[in-house]
Symmetry: D2
Subunit: 169 residues, 4 copies
């Protein structure tokens, strides 16, 4: 069984562009590892799922995390780290549920991206978050987004991003 | 080697009451499980550590989570679930670091508690969050905090809580 | 974006039946959450991935875990718990790798199933394990596999299972 | 609240040497993050707890993991990775339980250590494992244990280790 993208075409989710805007969607299944003794999905599981969504969004835009870490996608080895996150847990999710993680670009800064993420369970919103990630070098210093990364995200944000090149971290 | 509280007196942290206010402190070590390929603590690890802090604060106040789940600490089986969380990731933490999770009561609602939590690394703040948890029954319905739980938290909040018995969820 | 099986046909992997035998295959991506400061996949991540494989194998055989827990798939609420596991970690896996988890039935006992699981990275074996799981009721007592579960697994094991109904736990 | 070892003297557990042999003991609390929807501790949690035990054993022997990774504790940057593990899950553990992780050296190889680990719940064994870890350089090559690491472990194994300097990986 091959592990090529062809064999599992949707493994990194899909980028959708319709009347409700451009966004990345990724299905995640709730497994035992994601639940807790309360019988529902553990709250930190949503944080992990959102990170999968952001990582795969970036992947479909053409840049995977390892290329960033290796430095082959920018001037020096770097990684996106979470700087700020605000989350609302709206409804519980349960074992075996199939959830959809939706990720949209809200705003691009010089070295940062702010994303809106939500988790849906059969079209009902169960979680939503605004997350700001910063591209940071091994040294700990913020790294300016490369033109490639920037235009990929900007494309995903189709014109709504007026703040490109702004001064936000 | 006994596992009694006497054998490991600080396992659930300590409640401290000094000039900077009443709060719960819990040390956590950064292990491999908490780190990621970026070489630093994974961001969702802070969410897990804060949950440990809240759970042990409640424990030292006299109520452990299993008694809530069993229903022996309230009228029906219940658990605190996270409703809202806003987090700032200020500095990275690394493998082997000893961090301190500080938890303070900010506000008591009818069925909820809002806490201020921060994670310190040698007195430097590396993470801070405001977290609202709600006591929820198995049915999914919010459960009014029992007098015991309420007075324990209120005591921890020593007089700053004017909103006790308020209408917030 | 719908979360129906049709929308994401391979989300639970596939059951394959060819010259190398009947088995379940599930792709898993290595995300930041799965890695550690050593720069590779954390060893306990393989344990979680194998559990996903077993859960989805069972799902494609017609029984999801929630139905077991609810009691709707057997006489009483029950869940498969791991009793014994022996694991070889053969090669490291890294951030962004796409791995394949393969699961085969080795042997059926009265209340247990022994599975052979391996994790492949581009056809190279990186991990293998033999795992025995037991169906256990809420009371903690082993529960005899229902005819439906048994025949589903036996089918997956196509005739090699002579020990059906045996005395193994 | 200081994070110095003095402030939390038992944070890395203790090394005990009595009639049942020399071993490291570490208390771990079962938190929500460690449980699953079956209401008990998730099986991979034991794997994480054992890793904490090994890491803290090494720490009390004088070598922390970051010094290994940095290369300051050996000739080149290295880390202990798990090569083989066999585990028996004997009894369930539950939310709020205080468990003790016991770790003993079974055998020292040239680049490897085999450990016996068990998890106790009020003196009853709930989990046991034999775990072989190998010291591996960034290059992926096994690294011969330094004299310091070797003698620390050998001391922990007090004379039972005849195979020091042997040919095992």
């Amino acid at each position: 069984m091959s592990a090529t993208p062809d064999a599992w075409p949707d493994l990194a989710g899909r980028i959708i562009d319709d009347e409700t805007g451009r966004r990345h969607v990724l299905p995640v299944r709730v497994y035992f590892e994601d639940t807790d003794a309360g019988g529902i999905a553990y709250h930190a599981s949503y944080i992990r799922w959102c990170e999968r969504g952001r990582t795969d969004f970036l992947r479909l835009l053409g840049t995977d995390s390892r290329r960033l870490i290796d430095g082959s996608a920018s001037h020096e080895p770097a990684a996106f780290v979470v700087r700020r996150m605000s989350c609302d847990f709206l409804r519980p999710a349960r074992m075996d549920d199939v959830l959809i993680v939706e990720t949209r670009v809200k705003e691009l800064g010089g070295a940062s991206v702010t994303l809106l993420q939500m988790v849906l369970n059969e079209a009902r919103r169960v979680f939503e978050a605004e997350v700001t990630v910063v591209l940071v070098a091994v040294s700990g210093k913020p790294v300016r987004l490369s033109t490639a990364v920037r235009s990929a995200f900007a494309q995903a944000d189709q014109g709504k991003v007026l703040g490109i090149g702004g001064t936000k971290a």
